[in-house]
Symmetry: D2
């Protein structure tokens, strides 16, 4: 069955055009009450492949027996998508302020011990519902601020208010030139086995500013406060960021692979009635502290030698750095390598770099995840 | 006497050009030992007027009896200065990452109670010297990081290492369209009376990422730790950010006014032998918590009605917002005002804005500073 | 009476938003048949003041007795207006291709001698109507091109098709930092006395790519061909570009001054019944060949000393060029001047320039226009 | 033998840094007098692969017996190379003016009939030498213009002055996402068989603004004038633009392939003593009039289905255009194709496009070149 369609205005351009988001809803067919799901894509303007994944996912969901409500928001950042600079989408940050579009979510400042005491007599499900309302209202109050809110905050908090309604939040991104990888909070590591993604970054349960953290942190914090008060409250919300290969790329066939991975997770969580098996593949994890950025030690032209997603031994060539201005000297061509084994996950998109440009992000100290 | 000249390489461009900073030093003429001074300008690329102030200041200093060493670094961010986008310098953030050039300074992570205990037996002046060395070495160690450092961090930490050598640090900026204002830490508020600047923002003693904070915070923290240990240690470093009117503007005559204000402060501090009186003018303060940003509640064309630097009563027009796409409706022209008295300090540079653009920053709850 | 409102879609953004233009029409009140007028503003995204002029003009026209149809298109380039880069509208060229938005109009390639022969038997007014249809159809055919048209060409040719319907075409622009000046074709120089604009650039009757030229050139060419064939055919279309001071500026009061200047011209042409006198002022002309660009002979910081719109004698300082990296040398401060008398008309918007940046445009060999 | 090294300053950045070009010279080993060669790369900032080709070519030349002087200028546009915007080099046009860096060469305005008459008595080789001097001097005179020259013109005319000294001029570019192709003037089509490039665009002998045209047009014009005067004068200069696959890519292995192709041409022309055979491959040509641009008929996300460099039959899918805002409608996914057979040569770099963006350039009516 086709999803229902709605839209939400999240901004207005200088010349007066409204910026609206397309929103698609799948409703449970019967009286089912599976978990609610929120999926968004393209918060960074150049990271378009998540839209293709949502497209393939909706094609699949049309044929599914839906048990829980599913909300999908593709093209989530129209301002970022539309901002071109040369033959490239300048979509990672607000072109006026430089602020990363994915660091604009609201960091809730709720006095949790007090809040918990005021709601301690509620049942678990009532408590969860009350907390959810508190979070959504905090977002709405933020948007009504007398002094206004920034363009990026308006967008982000509108998205966040929708995400807070859900039990499962998926934020679809890509890297620059990247293999697929998953941001997964430590407490939810068992979920990584469902997605069609070989590498998982295990992140701490704290707010760093991104959507996944904005979605799960308040719940993890509530659970911690409850624990102190002697109550064992599950972390009611699961949230993940899926990095679906490279930016500025649409591949419908590959999008189907990732749609099926998401479907496997939704099946496991009881959002659809169908049984969908996860892809059989080895999956590896890495703690955020072991996820390292390598910056260009000198400027130059870059041949990216190490393929992303494949192990690279210490000392093997990561990049060749070419300096045509230094031809004839020892620095005309430098092979750069790392002092420890790693898996390169992503690299910079341009082939010429200033000194200090982030060349690669690599995982070190990887471990295999159970399946 | 002419200053001595040196330079420092702080980066390298993709095509191989070295990025170097010009550095000027005035040395004490005799055996004097006044405070050391560090002054930089143009960390944000479009904010050029500080260079003109350094120019006028050096012309003055050439005729002065110098008692303390003075280091001046104009054109402190060549990458930002050279980055043009249309007829404008896109100099506020790294065009690759969006990171504000003025938020790249090192936040020292020194375990101060331990450090203090290890150095507690030193005299005040020895303690200060030891701490200064610790700070400078931390900067240098940071720059030698095995995985490299970002372009902006390399620049900022190089500047910071120089600044840590000084007792007085002045960072010369401008606003977009702005009146002159001073960022001054609360403990140093008495210093505001020397500069030729009518409005002072009183900031807390904590690290927010800017140079002034990077310079004084470690010293304020040391002083706090010493106090706990029962020792009354002065805060050895004074640091200020001077916002010298609008960006994209060079005015040599006005630069002389601000050079003389700086000279008055240096005279007061014993850096020069000459007695220089501060300009006679009323000066006003405002706490950071009362410094408010007003964001466009809707998109449109903007007539900036309220002049910067002049009191505006509650309800008086701040801007007219023109919507040519809505001609004939009630929204064709909207006069926007604020609900409380204020002094507009700066406004946005462009006359057309998206919804959410920061239109004005205004001071509220101002108080007169003693003189 | 209020104008009627319509809109025209001239493009579509990557995320799907339609780009539409607001269009306002004033119709003659009775059976009058004065000239048709087309006025547009803001084809360059940062040049917003023309919108304010259209606003003030419509307020005036609402109270006028309209004799000829008037079409007004403010905000004529939404893509350019919405394209921000830092605190600036990057609106002069397509950010993808670099092509100036004001050089995208269609250069008609009509075989005029043949066309004239086919229509030679028509009366003057029939001939004009037939030619007008030919021009409009050529625009429409261009937009239906099988291989598509560029974003900028689509916008420009849509505007041009509207403009070709009119007898009078006004294109409202601004300079960067500029005094008011008018682009006026040589054959129409007598019209310059009506606008509230002190400086007029007298341009040849050839196609350089801008709207004014796109509007009048085909008619001048037709008139030339008719002359060869022995027929004295008036140039049926008047077209001007008004440069209304500086970009990134809205001033409603000043907009009223220019609205009244336009009204004086429309009154003279019989578009309105009211008698509106032009402003009393001296007006000066300059041939395009005498309109000179001065490029920075070296890089540096720029103090723009010469005010725009005021005569500057040969040898007087145009700009001071400050080189803080060369302090102590002869090049630390250079006063640049020109070898001949001129009136500076506009200067660059940024205060730091690469070598070769266009610093000023100046008129030389000015002559007073009759009034 | 290593080339000799020199450098040329072609500009100065706002903060004072000199922009210099590295220049490498190979001199004939003996008294040989083979043709002079000029090779440049990277005039468009993102098109870096030509530098790698120059690197590999110099490695080969070091082992060759050089008969003619060879000048190589990699990194020919430092301003363009260094201009980043997000993770991309914004190197196709001047970021201030929008002017394409490859359209800034001088279009000589020599009165050739007069010039020829004044030099008609010279021998062919003397005539060629005199004309060469005239061209070089015109460039130098242009650079000394009293009113200054633009940043891009200064760069281009400096490059052009060097190129005019040579008999063979190679300008190394790339497309956005592109297969290899060659721009070759019609009169020199036989030369296309030497380069390792499968597709050749046959261009007319007229000045369109690019380096190859700037280099050969004056000579073709001289030859035409001589012909009118009854003299059969060879076109003394050969000039080609090599488009070496995609921008933002360095591949040393592939660079060696193209270096050998260039070497085969230089061998054929007697610049090196070694016999180097061209790669055995089929090569195809297409006239410029048959080289077509296809613009996006609507906005959306783009899956580039047709690989560059492979024939595509009429009606086969070129791109899939995805519209997530129109999911559930007929426009959610549109397969776009062309009405005639073609070979797609290059496509746009971004996967989301406004209406009108140039999606593909394709060759039609191809013919096989002799070998």
């Amino acid at each position: 069955m086709l999803p229902t369609t709605s839209s939400l205005q999240i901004g207005e351009l200088a010349a007066g055009q409204a910026l609206t988001l397309p929103i698609y809803h799948f409703k449970p067919s019967g009286k089912h009450s599976g978990p609610k799901v929120y999926i968004q894509a393209n918060v960074h303007g150049a990271e378009v492949q998540g839209n293709a994944v949502i497209y393939q996912l909706m094609k699949q969901l049309e044929r599914c027996d839906i048990l829980g409500e599913i909300t999908l928001v593709p093209l989530a950042n129209p301002l970022g998508i539309n901002q071109k600079s040369g033959e490239f989408t300048l979509g990672r940050f607000d072109p006026i302020t430089g602020v990363n579009w994915n660091r604009e979510y609201l960091n809730h400042a709720i006095d949790l011990p007090t809040w918990y005491k005021e709601h301690a007599e509620l049942s678990d499900s009532e408590l969860i519902q009350a907390y959810r309302s508190t979070l959504v209202e905090a977002c709405q109050r933020r948007l009504r601020n007398d002094w206004g809110v920034t363009t990026g905050h308006r967008l982000a908090v509108n998205l966040q208010a929708m995400a807070h309604e859900a039990d499962i939040v998926l934020d679809l991104h890509t890297g620059p030139k990247s293999c697929k990888h998953l941001y997964c909070p430590e407490y939810d590591i068992a979920s990584a086995q469902f997605f069609a993604i070989p590498y998982t970054l295990v992140i701490p349960n704290s707010f760093g500013g991104a959507m996944d953290e904005a979605a799960f942190c308040p719940w993890w914090q509530l659970s911690e406060v409850a624990k102190v008060m002697g109550r064992d409250l599950e972390i009611a919300v699961s949230a993940f960021t899926l990095e679906l290969a490279s930016q500025e790329r649409i591949c419908l066939e590959d999008a189907l692979v990732d749609a099926k991975g998401i479907l496997a997770y939704l099946s496991h969580r009881g959002v659809i009635a169908e049984q969908v098996e996860p892809a059989k593949m080895r999956r590896f994890g890495c703690y955020l502290k072991d996820y390292k950025k390598y910056h260009a030690p000198m400027a130059g032209l870059v041949e990216y030698v190490a393929p992303v997603g494949e192990p690279l031994a210490a000392g093997e060539t990561l990049v060749n750095l070419l300096r045509l201005d230094l031809y004839g000297s020892e620095q005309e061509l430098t092979a750069l390598s790392l002092p420890q084994d790693c898996v390169p996950i992503l690299h910079f998109a341009s082939a010429s770099v200033h000194q200090g440009t982030e060349l690669y992000k690599v995982m070190t100290n990887l471990f295999e995840l159970p399946h």
